[in-house]
Amino acid sequence: MNQRKYLKVFTKFLHTSLASEFEYKTNILIDLITAILSLIGSIFLLSIFFTNNVRLGGWQFEEALIIQAIYTILNGITNTWFNPNLTEIVKHIREGTLDFVLLKPIDSQFFISFKKINPSGFLEIILGFCLLLFCIRINQINLNLSFLTLSLITIICSICILYSLWFFISTTTIWFVKTWNATEVLRSFLYIGRFPLNSFSFTLRIFFSIFIPIAFITTIPSEVFLGISQFWKIFLEIIVASVFLITSRKFWLFALKFYSSASS
């Protein structure tokens, strides 16, 4: 592994994808409006839940807003990074162009995971951070170093889990060819990450913490922000994230053995 080479390739990727995306400038503007409307819509939905209730699954409105903020940031990351790249895997495999990727003297997972960046998701990330700052103010959270490191660790773990989930599903394309819709299923499941896990029934809670760990993705970082997270939960999230990352990597290498190019 030559780190400088990878860094250089990454900056090149960044440059080319930004250049191609900025060709559609109005598109970026429309995406910005979409992101803002989407945030307004989900806050509106949340406010409906709170019209006659003070708490939802033990969370107050101000606290539940933190979950929305973290969801928005993660959704922005999905839109900038995972979605454009990992839907590309499907195309590579269908058209047989994965051959060209595999022939390159660079790690194939790195290549297909970082090739593209979609700048319109940046706005969503910024929007999420603004909401997060607002939440920190209204919940009177005092910032200190240990809190910042803990929240940073949990958010990074969430990103890793999210990436692994996306990558895992995209990898199954090697067998099923058309998994475009499987990512759509994942997307609709991820949707519940907008709400506190405790607001769901017991069976769903179990399902969303064991099979698809959406619970870890937004609820635990939000708990860290509120200072109510137990240490074992954070520890568990780190373990889950590393297990997911390692298995997704192993799964990709395993799946490649079954790749037989197009028309062969």
Partner: protein, 264 residues
């Protein structure tokens, strides 16, 4: 003679598209699964006793969300995505020469997909009834017939809106981002995530003038037996179709005049 010809055209189109859709059964099953968000929402509503504040019993609410799921399943429209791809790749050119508006082709595609989707949606609803046996009910034939019509009208409204957006491809090339923008109000205001009855007063005052509550809320209320204004619902649906159809005709004729095939 002429009507016979039209009949044959429609029949052939449907047959071709249906066999095309049957080829991708797994894909359509996955699409059906990705529509289960209403059930997650139902889980939040009943698990936190939020329905007490809007005077809908648990059973009626679960029927509502099941119907919302069904209505959504049979009114999903993706014409803009197909059309965008066809325009960008220049596939529209041969379609334009044919003595048949290309949108008939997409329309047949959607109807065929709905027929293919029906068994999967039915299986999902059986699972739903197994987990919620108290919400089983059989709507009477008249209501069933009316709600099928209103679902179809809702599908027509969405198909027209998306076709109008799709025609923008003639000018902007990337019309799908506009569709994503329009999808946000559809998602939050149509009643897919929360029944319109639960919306705050300041939204209810204007929402019934927009097409959104007639897309899912009205047919779902009708089918599930929740109170709804049948006369207003149908007249608004028809009104919106009558409003949108001339717009589509205009933009289509303007667009085809503007269209220059690939590479010219």
């Amino acid at each position: 003679m002429i009507s016979n010809l039209i009949n044959r055209k429609i029949f052939t189109l449907l047959k071709v598209q249906y066999s095309n859709m049957l080829e991708y059964r797994v894909e359509i099953a996955l699409w059906a699964i990705s529509g289960i968000i209403p059930f997650f929402m139902l889980n939040i509503w009943t698990n936190n006793n939020l329905n007490q504040s809007i005077n809908i019993s648990n059973i009626m609410l679960s029927r509502y969300f099941l119907c919302a799921f069904f209505v959504r399943q049979f009114s999903v429209v993706w014409v803009v995505f197909s059309f965008e791809e066809d325009t960008l790749l220049g596939k529209v050119s041969p379609y334009l020469i044919q003595p048949l508006n290309p949108f008939f082709r997409y329309f047949a595609q959607h109807i065929a997909e709905q027929i293919t989707r029906f068994p999967f949606a039915f299986i999902i609803s059986i699972f739903f009834f197994i987990s919620n046996p108290e919400s089983i009910w059989i709507p009477n034939l008249g209501i069933l017939f009316l709600s099928i019509i209103s679902t179809f009208l809702s599908f027509l409204i969405q198909f027209l809106i998306q076709s109008i957006v799709a025609c923008l491809c003639f000018w902007t090339e990337k019309a799908s981002s506009i569709e994503r923008l329009l999808f946000i109000p559809t998602l939050f205001l149509s009643g897919l995530l929360a029944p319109v009855a639960s919306f705050p007063g300041y939204v209810k005052s204007w929402i019934y003038l927009t097409p959104f509550p007639y897309l899912i809320d009205f047919p779902a209320n009708l089918l599930s037996g929740n109170p709804t204004n049948i006369g207003r619902g149908f007249s608004m649906q028809i009104l919106w179709i009558l409003l949108l159809f001339p717009v589509f005709r205009k933009i289509w004729s303007a667009g085809t005049r503007k269209y220059t095939a690939m590479g010219s």
